[in-house]
């Protein structure tokens, strides 16, 4: 019996626990522990779902759903789960580096290599990307007054492909090893000659699945914003988060293709002996760096632009002021989007091209700092004279402004090729990009969760625990990463599992302390969600507008109904909902209701995700029957779906009317709250606009709400 035909290259020694049995050590024990957590976590989930009888609701209400809101929430849940793994890996690496004078430490070099590779890959492709994608999914259609994205099924397919990639990375904890080539996986190290195992293949296929998912997402969102805006919502009336979503989508459409090309070439090198990036036979590994960063640099802006959008919404809302310099923010976003395609070479200044090439790309890199600077001034000026409430989200915003500027400065330093040659591949660089991504993107996403959580679930998050998490995260970040600037300038190289210079020790100790604080911050965040769910009755804000919001998403109930808007809104200005509240035209009953078509749930997307995951797993382990069968099945599902005719169902006008009138009646019956009471139990989600607080009496229950029939 030829087992290889059935199991490919999987042997019993491929399982992580075999390493522990054959070669016991602390490093192997940690690997086995991580594998056990993955297995036990999966088993625990299965048991929980079975005991609680949640399998059917999970399948019926979530996995088969094509509702953009549910897809968005699933993306964010995926991001948080993957974040838990990657942040623990980061802490492990810090601990290793602290313990690793003169070859000490408890991790093997190979294990350390896997840790920084999975940490980077997960954080970029399976935390940051799903987080921003989930957020854009949830918020953007609500902000433009649409009932869903343009292609709801495609949206679900994107999610399931991303999830398939994430599952593949989780599987690599248990079966086999992951790549040790870093998140950028440079050949020739990742070629078959130097990385003969399955690790790089895990990286290739996980990233490829995520990348295809992102391309489809970008396409979907761009069409949605171009074609599905509600009447009156001209481009220059769109909220800034929607603008940044549009620019990010455009980047996704164009930037993912070079990554796909690079991973396909690397795969062909490894699987079929091609010579794209090999040392000999005419291969050129520098082209890999070129292709990877053709994707990689726009990717940086794919991540940060939606966060910029979040910051714009947060600062305007919690300052109770219209955003300063709307137009300049829009044009700055566009400039960044276009320029981001013209700076990719600054990731490999040291690769040997002539000084002229470096100079051009260095200058382009410095120029891209200008529109970002414009944005910072706009956010600062928005706060001037505003009524600022220091909520958790706002604290994150102020922290962002302070630390992001420092990170931006070090970025401008690195844009100078002369300086880059000195600190290239040191911890200085690691400090720089974490300084952009953590206060910028990650904290932006955390702020977004604080801000939009009540919209998605109908109750606010516990404010005290939110602040506690902030006061761990913010100093934790500073402690964890600012020492790395010093270490980098002292010559400490990145991705190094051991060192011998005694001067490094205090700085690594500080960084470890910071990492511990970040873990504590994450623990507080989890606690905040748990506590808030328990106390959801007192935190409830079902009327939809807890923060005196400005864009359309706040005008509908929390959580919104499946059809979002009972009647498509008519927009006449920016900050449409805020203006309506001010003019007293908010919460009016529409003259008439109509039937609404919504897409039916379908098993298409989860099936495609499942088969894509099996396909990638087969490729990693050379299980060719699985590769062929799952590939055929993917396309069989697609073709079968194209023959389905009853893909939509009708929500009758009467249902919509009943739900919406009940909501409006509840709004009218509830007294509005002022900004001072925002964090009290009185806040049920009906806000008195800040500008009308003086005449608050007039807005007591039932008053001042006109009804037009």
């Amino acid at each position: 019996m030829n087992w290889e035909l059935i199991f490919g290259q999987i042997k019993w020694t491929s399982f992580v626990f075999a390493g522990m049995i054959e070669n016991p050590s602390l490093s192997e024990a940690i690997a086995s522990g991580a594998g056990s957590i993955a297995v036990l976590g999966a088993l625990g989930t299965v048991v929980l779902l079975t005991v609680k009888g949640w399998w059917v609701p999970l399948w019926r209400d979530w996995l088969t759903s094509v509702d953009h809101k549910k897809v968005g929430i699933m993306y964010i849940v995926l991001a948080l789960v993957m974040f838990a793994r990657a942040v623990i890996e980061a802490a492990l690496m810090r601990a290793q580096q602290l313990a690793a004078t003169d070859g000490g430490g408890f991790l093997s070099a190979d294990h350390f290599g896997q840790l920084f590779s999975t940490h980077g890959t997960i954080m970029i492709f399976f935390v940051a990307m799903p987080f921003i994608t989930g957020l854009m999914n949830y918020v953007m259609p609500l902000q433009i007054g649409a009932r869903d994205v343009s292609f709801p099924l495609l949206n679900a397919i994107s999610l399931m492909l991303t999830m398939a990639g994430a599952v593949l990375i989780m599987v690599s904890l248990v079966v086999g090893q992951f790549s040790t080539g870093g998140w950028s996986a440079y050949p020739p190290f990742t070629g078959i000659e130097f990385s003969p195992g399955e690790g790089v293949d895990y990286w290739i296929w996980a990233v490829s699945l995520g990348s295809i998912g992102s391309t489809l997402t970008g396409l979907n969102f761009a069409v949605t914003i171009y074609k599905k805006r509600c009447p009156g919502m001209s481009l220059f009336r769109m909220p800034l988060f929607t603008w940044t979503t549009l620019c990010t989508s455009i980047l996704m459409i164009f930037a993912m293709a070079p990554l796909t090309a690079a991973t396909i070439m690397l795969a062909l090198d490894r699987y079929a002996g091609f010579h794209f990036f090999t040392n000999g036979d005419g291969g050129n590994m520098m082209n890999y760096a070129n292709l990877f960063w053709l994707f990689g640099h726009p990717e940086v802006y794919i991540l940060i632009l939606p966060a910029f959008g979040v910051w714009s919404e947060v600062v305007a809302t919690y300052s109770s002021k219209r955003i300063y310099g709307y137009t300049s923010l829009v044009y700055a976003t566009m400039c960044i989007a276009v320029l981001s395609f013209a700076v990719w070479l600054h990731h490999f200044f040291t690769m040997g091209q002539s000084a002229n090439v470096n100079a051009i790309f260095g200058i382009a890199t410095m120029i891209i700092g200008v529109p970002t600077g414009v944005k910072v001034y706009d956010w600062l000026l928005t706060m001037v004279g505003g009524r600022i409430r220091l909520t958790t989200a706002m604290l994150f915003h102020i922290n962002f402004l302070l630390t992001f500027i420092l990170g931006g400065m070090t970025g401008v330093l690195l844009a100078n090729p002369g300086i880059d040659f000195q600190v290239h591949n040191t911890l200085f660089l690691v400090a720089h990009f974490h300084n952009m991504i953590i206060p910028g993107v990650l904290f932006g996403m955390f702020a977004a969760v604080q801000f939009w959580f009540p919209k998605a679930f109908g109750f606010r998050l516990h404010e005290g625990l939110g602040r506690a998490s902030f006061w761990c995260f913010a100093p934790g970040f500073l402690l964890a990463f600012f020492p790395l600037y010093w270490l980098g300038m002292m010559g400490a190289t990145r991705r190094t599992f051991t060192w011998s210079n005694p001067d490094y020790l205090p700085w690594f100790a500080l960084a470890m302390l910071g990492a511990a604080l970040i873990l504590a911050g994450f623990a507080f965040m989890v606690m905040q969600i748990v506590v808030s769910v328990r106390r959801r009755a007192e935190l409830a804000a079902p009327l939809g507008d807890p923060w005196d919001g400005r864009a359309l998403e706040w005008s509908i109930p929390s959580p919104p109904p499946a059809w979002n808007f009972a009647v498509l809104p008519q927009v006449t200005a920016r900050d449409a909902f805020y203006e309506a509240k001010k003019d007293g035209t908010a919460y009016r009953s529409p003259a008439a209701y109509e039937d609404i078509e919504v897409p039916r749930n379908t098993a298409t997307a989860p099936l495609i995700g499942l088969f894509a995951c099996a396909w990638a797993f087969g490729l990693v382990w050379h299980i060719w029957w699985l590769v062929i069968v799952s590939f055929v099945l993917i396309w069989a599902v697609v073709i079968a779906r194209s023959f389905a005719t009853h893909t939509e169902e009708i929500v009758p006008a009467a249902t919509v009317k009943a739900a919406n009138e009940a909501f409006l009646a509840a709004v009218r019956a509830t007294p509005g709250v002022t900004r001072d009471q925002e964090m009290t139990a009185a806040n049920r989600g009906r806000a008195i606009p800040e500008s009308l607080e003086a005449s608050a009496g007039a807005l007591a229950a039932g008053a001042a709400v006109e009804v037009t029939r």
Binding site: L219, V223, P258, A261, M265, D269, G273, F274, G282, N287
Partner: protein, 210 residues
């Protein structure tokens, strides 16, 4: 040029309600975006080929030694005429709603496309057997096989799609959904012909000239 042609070239939506227009516009715009994203993929492969066909020869043959221009010319004609034939399938769909006409022209398109793929496979066969020019020989040949192979794979998936659409035309008739899908297939097919212009020029002709 007519109104609906301007909005969604080639599809006849005149006389239908505005909602179908809107839906068609979304779907076709989305497909244009997909095509552009695909075009970026090809562009990257072209750029890689442009560098490797000069720098990645190693011990292997040079482009001029392995390319057969006559075959490339015939392949160009096959693809061009199949594009043209698809245009006539669209005319049948748009002006006569004639199932037989549409199916007939699709068959012509498909046969020409299949001929194209067949000729390319024959090219590969000749290169490997007569010149020993496998993709494993050199960076140049790796890039050549990937670029032309990706295009051939696109054409082949277009052929499968065409077969599925032929079945749908029979099963559903020329319903709005089927029309929209045919329209997208047409865009896909014409775009592959545009990509082929790049291949015969920058791969075959440039390779032989320089």
């Amino acid at each position: 040029m007519s109104l609906s042609e301007r909005l969604h070239p080639g599809i006849n939506l005149a006389g239908t309600d505005p909602e179908s227009h809107e839906a068609a516009e979304e779907v076709l715009f989305g497909f244009w975006i997909f095509l552009m994203s695909d075009l970026v993929l090809f562009a990257v492969l072209f750029a890689t080929y442009a560098a490797m066909s000069v720098q990645g020869i190693a011990e292997g043959p040079r482009p001029a030694e392995v390319f057969d221009l006559t075959a490339a010319f015939l392949e160009t004609l096959l693809l061009l005429f199949s594009s043209f034939a698809f245009g006539f399938a669209m005319l049948e769909m748009k002006y006569r709603e004639n199932r037989r006409g549409v199916l007939g022209w699709l068959l012509v398109t498909g046969l020409l496309g299949a001929g194209f793929v067949g000729m390319e496979l024959h090219d590969y066969y000749v290169m490997v057997t007569a010149h020993g020019a496998t993709p494993q020989t050199s960076g140049f040949l790796s890039a050549y096989y990937l670029l032309t192979g990706t295009h051939a794979l696109h054409v082949s998936s277009g052929l499968v799609w065409m077969a599925v659409m032929a079945v749908q035309v029979v099963v559903f008739g020329l319903s709005p959904a089927v029309k929209l899908r045919l329209m997208r297939l047409a865009l896909f097919w014409h775009m592959l012909d545009v990509v082929w212009i790049g291949i015969f020029t920058f791969v075959y002709l440039y390779g032989v000239v320089s």
